[in-house]
């Protein structure tokens, strides 16, 4: 039943449109205009539902290139997840620890993690780059970036 890629995708999108439609039907009504807030969303939801069914029954006609693209080596999955985790940590601690420290740490460790071996250059770039941007934003343009635990 779920052999083709299109079938799996079709099913996912079907569920997506069903969820969106449910939300659309639960929108509050506003009595004073002819086309209420729910009309367009409902329309969109139904169109997507029909398209998902169409995709479900459409034949897979992938080129080799696309097939190759779907195959991600395990090592790359690890790398992607790693970067993802780095970004996640960065965002979470961004406002508490502050822009300069977090950015420097991020650029340094992320580049290292991805296989950059010239540690001196890496350290130099990862310190200068955030300090430069921070100075431009905060001192030159007076747009505040999170200062965090640093005194300036």
């Amino acid at each position: 039943m779920l052999k083709g890629v299109n079938r799996k995708l079709g099913l996912v999108i079907f569920l997506l449109s069903a969820g969106y439609l449910t939300l659309s039907y639960n929108l509050p009504t506003y009595p004073y205009i002819p086309v209420d807030a729910d009309v367009i969303p409902k329309t969109l939801g139904w169109i997507l539902l029909v398209l998902s069914i169409a995709l479900f029954f459409a034949k897979d006609q992938d080129s080799e290139e696309q097939k190759a693209r779907r195959h991600i080596p395990r090592e790359d999955v690890k790398a992607l997840l790693g970067v993802f985790v780095f970004v996640f940590i960065y965002i979470t601690l961004f406002e508490t620890i502050g822009f300069i420290i977090m950015t420097a740490a991020f650029v340094f460790f992320c580049s290292w993690f991805l296989g950059y071996k010239q540690h001196v250059v890496n350290a130099l770039v990862s310190i200068l780059f955030p300090v430069f941007l921070y100075s431009v934003f905060v001192f030159l343009l007076s747009i505040n970036l999170p200062q965090g635990i640093l005194p300036f």
Partner: protein, 496 residues
């Protein structure tokens, strides 16, 4: 005062030593800020407003105008080099600019962007100068039915924006449209699909989506190819050389799209972003080899760049001649006028011709300065692509994160950026095209609102879309534009 006298007064202002200095200062600051992540014309103007306080109004405004179009000019750099658009008007530029840069021709891509911006800027100033006094009526000629039809026309191009499965392109477009429905609905004040989060009430910012779908998704692929050497050997990556052939190729689109961009820029609410997209699509549809688009076509860089700069000058029409700010950026620009005690509007041209014409005349000089400032920088800026992959990846992620943070100052949007990055990656793996998604997002929201505004005014009578001349013409064009590729395909099949 007649128009000719006015123009002369304008040049007197613009060509005075002070005039030249302030234009130069404005465009320099503008391009610089425009190149920074997340900072576009809005922030650039807002930042400069306090500085102008107490200055000579004419000179200050000449400078502020320079900041505005300078920021638009500078915004394309990161689109082309990093696939990370710094401002929304240059998202379309990345479609072909980035692939071309990846082929090792970053210098060429940037040079084309700069030259096309210059062409767009200059042609539109000529139009502005000749037609500014009469264009005011054009700016207000579009009612809700006409806007609806215009957006519809833009959306009919979705199928032509992508190769491969039409179903997938349509799905991408519908999902993009759905994302546009998130937030408070202006016609009812109802919060839609916000899940009770105040952060979603204003909807999702266009740049969050663009940076996620393009920059972050691209980063994922860079991560997978992290061991490959960076783009070519970088020998002539910064080379600006354009062959005669290249010049010939871009002159058409740059010229045509300057006009289109200017007209779209005049319409309040349309603006540089929509103009750049519509110009890109138009060029692709009339191109002899549309399949080259998206893979580094020169025309695909020239069209949106000429258009977004022309639209910027166009947006001065309603601002100067009616006092109507047609976009967030011109609203801030209006603030810049007010703080100097100048009220733009129907009376400005008569009351203070030196300001009205001074700004316009200064744009010629500003555009020349921009070209002179930007071209020599290109070889140096292009070098960023020779940075080793792992480091480049970290820097692009950084750039995108700061870009989003500088818009909303909330970490919520940073998580959203990450989410859209993942979505963009998944879409690319499964061959769902991103351009229809982003196009439907920007046009869809406006299309829905205009549709419902028109329906409310007409008391629910749908004939309102066919009784208005502009909207009727645009709807007929939409039908043709929609049917044309289908008919052509059918014919091709028959021929086989």
């Amino acid at each position: 005062m007649g128009a000719v006298e006015g123009i002369l007064t304008g040049f007197e202002v613009a060509l005075s030593l002070e005039g030249i200095m302030f234009v130069l200062l404005g465009v320099f600051v503008g391009t610089f800020i425009g190149m920074l992540p997340g900072l576009g014309p809005i922030s650039a103007i807002a930042i400069m407003i306090p500085i102008t306080y107490g200055m000579n109004p004419t000179l200050a405004l000449v400078m502020m105008a320079g900041v505005y179009y300078g920021a638009v000019f500078g915004g394309s750099t990161s689109s082309i080099l990093l696939n990370a658009p710094g401002i929304s008007g240059t998202v379309a530029t990345s479609f072909d600019g980035y692939p071309l840069a990846q082929k090792g021709q970053a210098g060429k891509a940037l040079a084309i962007a700069a030259i096309s911006s210059f062409v767009g800027g200059t042609i539109s100033v000529v139009l502005l100068m000749i037609f500014a006094p009469v264009l005011a009526s054009v700016a207000v000629s579009f009612g809700p039915p006409a806007y609806f039809a215009l957006m519809l026309l833009g959306l009919t191009a979705i199928a032509s924006l992508s190769e491969g499965s039409t179903i997938k392109a349509l799905i991408a477009a519908i999902v993009g449209f759905m994302i546009a429905t998130i937030g408070i609905d202006p016609q009812t004040g109802t919060g839609r699909f916000t899940f009770g989060s105040a952060n979603l009430l204003d909807g999702i910012d266009f740049l969050v989506i663009a940076l996620g779908l393009f920059a972050i998704a691209e980063v994922c692929f860079l991560v997978m190819n992290r061991r490959k050497k960076s783009v070519t050997n970088g020998k002539d990556i910064g080379s600006l050389k354009l062959s005669k052939q290249d010049a010939k190729e871009i002159s058409g689109p740059a010229g045509r799209q300057s006009f289109l961009g200017f007209i779209l820029g005049i319409l309040p609410g349309a603006g540089a972003t929509i103009a750049s997209f519509i110009s890109y699509i138009t060029e692709k549809r009339i191109a002899k080899k549309p399949e080259e688009f998206g893979k580094g076509a020169l025309k695909g860089i020239a069209a949106p760049e000429a258009s977004n700069n022309a639209a910027t000058s166009g947006s001065f029409v309603p601002l100067l001649s009616l006092g109507i700010p047609g976009s967030g950026t011109t609203a801030v620009m209006l603030g810049a006028f007010l703080v100097l005690g100048v009220q733009p509007g129907p009376m400005l041209m008569g009351d203070q011709p030196e300001i009205f014409w001074g700004i316009i005349a200064s744009m010629y000089i500003g555009n020349i300065f921009l070209l002179i400032l930007n071209l020599p920088l290109i070889p140096y800026i292009s070098r960023i692509l020779t940075v080793p992959r792992p480091l480049l990846i970290s820097l692009v992620i950084m750039f995108s994160l700061i870009g989003v943070y500088a818009i909303s100052f909330s970490t919520f949007d940073l998580y959203l950026l990450l989410a859209f990055g993942v979505l963009g990656f998944i879409m690319r793996i499964f061959a769902f095209p991103a351009p229809p998604f982003i196009l439907a997002f920007i046009l869809g929201g406006m299309m829905e609102q205009s549709f419902r505004q028109a329906m409310t005014s007409s008391g629910g009578n749908i004939s309102v879309f066919f009784t208005n001349n502009i909207s009727l013409v645009l709807i007929i064009l939409s039908v043709i534009s929609f049917a044309f590729p289908i008919i052509r395909n059918l014919r091709k099949k028959k021929a086989h």
